[in-house]
């Protein structure tokens, strides 16, 4: 059992958990979920489970401390004849301390486990002799549950969530097994009470959840694992491929990453649905975006939202940045001014986003790439509007929209090319080769078929992309395919599930000749 896609998980662990959950009395169902979650964690990470326990206890304590401070502040402020300003400042300082400790413990664990080696590596050439990084390994999903932990403490601090006295509920909120590996990154308000409620498994939940999971499994087994053959071959030895092949590999990698990650999210949300928990959606047809910043509102949504709520807004509304915004507005005007000043907050967001994905220069470059694009996009918006107006291009027209779609797709593929590289230097080199050195010849003369995928593999991939497009368009129009199938009755439900199972069994890239692929986001 190494992932949600292993036979042991899908055919043994998950069904057993669902049965135990349903048979348990409602008030004890949380215990089934918690036990299953910790068992899952243990199987994947063994004794490293202590780190998730440490995080749980730390946010539980921080929440209680913040709660106690807040009620004492309220009591203080309610007293007659109190210097309210001084009291506010005093209690504010204490609460900030609790916040900093609570957040610091969690980010500290993440920092030491994930980034210590990277920092040492970066500092080594400067002659800094640091103690060697501890090689403990990474607990599964630490990047995901740490963000959840931080968001809980921040929410309690701001007063948008109440502090939870129940340690077990917090433990479940952090470690719920469908979400622990690759997210989605949930907020306490979104899942905690549903996790605790022990809603019974219903027929509709079982169908919608199960079919959603099957769809995710199909996406990953048929497309992502198959594309791995090509992507692995080219990126494993990029020096021996020309620009056309590198560009194709980058495009296929983008598709692979999407099918892998969104497929895993389908499985996670499907599992949540079975247990009556609606996990937040992480994808909304990202490739239909028209700008880079819209892409990030549709791709890995919960990560983007986390950085927006806990980095972008707080940084933007902090004193110094606010003053910067005001003066920029006076100096540069109402549109360009704030856009320019937002650079500070955006830089924080994108450095964080890049590094969150991993300790490596390529991730740093990936973050900076999107920082530049999105910041420049904001700065240049008025100029671009002016140019369009002068050239008579209708910004609401289909032509302009099509241009935006294509542009964004290219931007995203280029970004993923940097992301997949083994270092920033290699990434830049490959980007240059895939653009300036692009030759279409290798795509048509048979070279493309020599890198691990044969013509039949490309045909299957192409057919599945068409299916993805159809589903994507339906969803864009607000349809809910699974809902529609449910209403059609038992035969339709069975037909859909059966079709997905047969497709996965026959066209899945597994077994002899295929290398099993680790879930891609689990290592970030």
């Amino acid at each position: 059992m190494t992932s949600y896609f292993s036979a042991a998980f899908l055919l043994a662990f998950l069904p057993a958990t669902v049965v135990c959950y349903q048979l348990a009395p409602r008030r004890a169902r949380w215990a089934v979920l918690l036990a299953a979650s910790y068992a899952f964690f243990w199987v994947l990470s063994g004794p490293l489970v202590v780190f998730v326990i440490a995080s749980t206890v730390s946010i539980w304590a921080a929440g209680l401390a913040l709660d106690a401070l807040a009620s004492r502040r309220a009591a203080d402020l309610a007293r007659q004849g109190v210097d309210r300003r001084r009291a506010r400042r005093l209690w504010g300082r204490r609460m900030r301390l609790a916040l900093v400790v609570g957040v610091g413990v969690n980010l500290g664990i993440l920092g030491v486990l994930k980034y210590a080696g990277f920092v040492c590596e970066l500092l080594a050439p400067l002659g800094c002799a640091l103690p060697p990084a501890p090689s403990i390994g990474l607990p599964i999903g630490i990047s995901f549950y740490t963000l959840q932990a931080v968001s809980y403490v921040a929410d309690v601090y701001r007063g948008s969530s109440r502090a939870d006295r129940n340690l077990a509920r917090l433990a479940l909120y952090l470690a719920f097994f469908p979400q622990i590996m690759e997210g989605p990154i949930c907020r306490y308000d979104q899942t905690a009470s549903a996790l605790w409620a022990g809603e019974p498994v219903t027929a509709q939940g079982l169908f919608s959840g199960g079919a959603r999971m099957l769809w995710g499994v199909t996406k990953r087994m048929v497309v992502a694992n198959r594309l791995n053959l090509f992507v692995q071959t080219v990126f494993g030895d990029p020096g021996s491929y020309d620009g056309g092949m590198v560009a194709l590999a980058a495009a296929l990698y983008t598709l692979q990453l999407y099918c892998d990650f969104s497929g895993t999210m389908d499985v996670a949300c499907g599992m949540g649905r079975v247990f009556g928990v609606s996990l937040p959606e992480n994808f909304r047809q990202p490739f239909f975006s028209r700008t880079a910043s819209e892409f990030w509102q549709r791709w890995h949504i919960t990560l983007g939202a986390w950085f927006r709520d806990y980095v972008f807004y707080p940084v933007s509304l902090s004193g110094p940045v606010k003053r910067l915004t005001s003066s920029a507005r006076r100096g540069l005007g109402n549109r360009v001014g704030p856009a320019a000043a937002s650079g500070v907050a955006l830089l924080c967001v994108w450095l964080g986003n890049g590094l969150w994905h991993g300790a490596g220069t390529q991730y740093l470059l990936f973050g900076l790439y999107y920082f530049v694009l999105i910041w420049a996009g904001g700065l240049l918006a008025p100029a671009s509007e002016a140019v369009c107006a002068r050239m008579g291009v209708a910004r609401d027209g289909a032509l302009w929209h099509a241009f935006q779609h294509v542009r964004t797709l290219l931007v995203v593929v280029a970004g993923e090319l940097l992301f997949r590289s083994s270092s920033a230097v290699e990434g830049l080199g490959l980007l240059v080769r895939a653009t300036l050195g692009f030759r279409a010849s290798s795509l048509v003369d048979g070279t493309a078929l020599s890198a691990g995928m044969d013509a039949a593999d490309f045909v299957v991939t192409g057919a599945f992309v068409v299916a993805l497009l159809v589903v994507g368009v339906l969803r864009e129009r607000g349809a809910c395919p699974l809902e529609a199938v449910w209403r059609r009755g038992a035969v339709a439900r069975w037909a859909v599930c059966c079709a997905l199972i047969v497709t996965t069994v026959v066209f899945g890239a597994y077994g002899a000749g295929y290398v099993p692929v680790d879930p891609m986001y689990a290592s970030f």
Partner: protein, 77 residues
Amino acid sequence: MDTILDILDELKPGVDWRGRTDLVDGRELDSLTIISLIAELEDAFDVVVPAVEIVPENFNSLEGIWALVRRLREQGL
């Protein structure tokens, strides 16, 4: 309320601010515009908008923004 309308029109002309209840969800107000809007609101009404108040409910409609400003003013007094 008219002050808010003026601010919005200045930030992003050509939107029917009065009739809308999906300003955030419909992506009329992106995060950048919200930051500028907050700066203007803070100047105009002498309030401080904390980050916690930036939720869609507060910015989805003109009424929502107005309610937020009124609430913050009462708290500030």
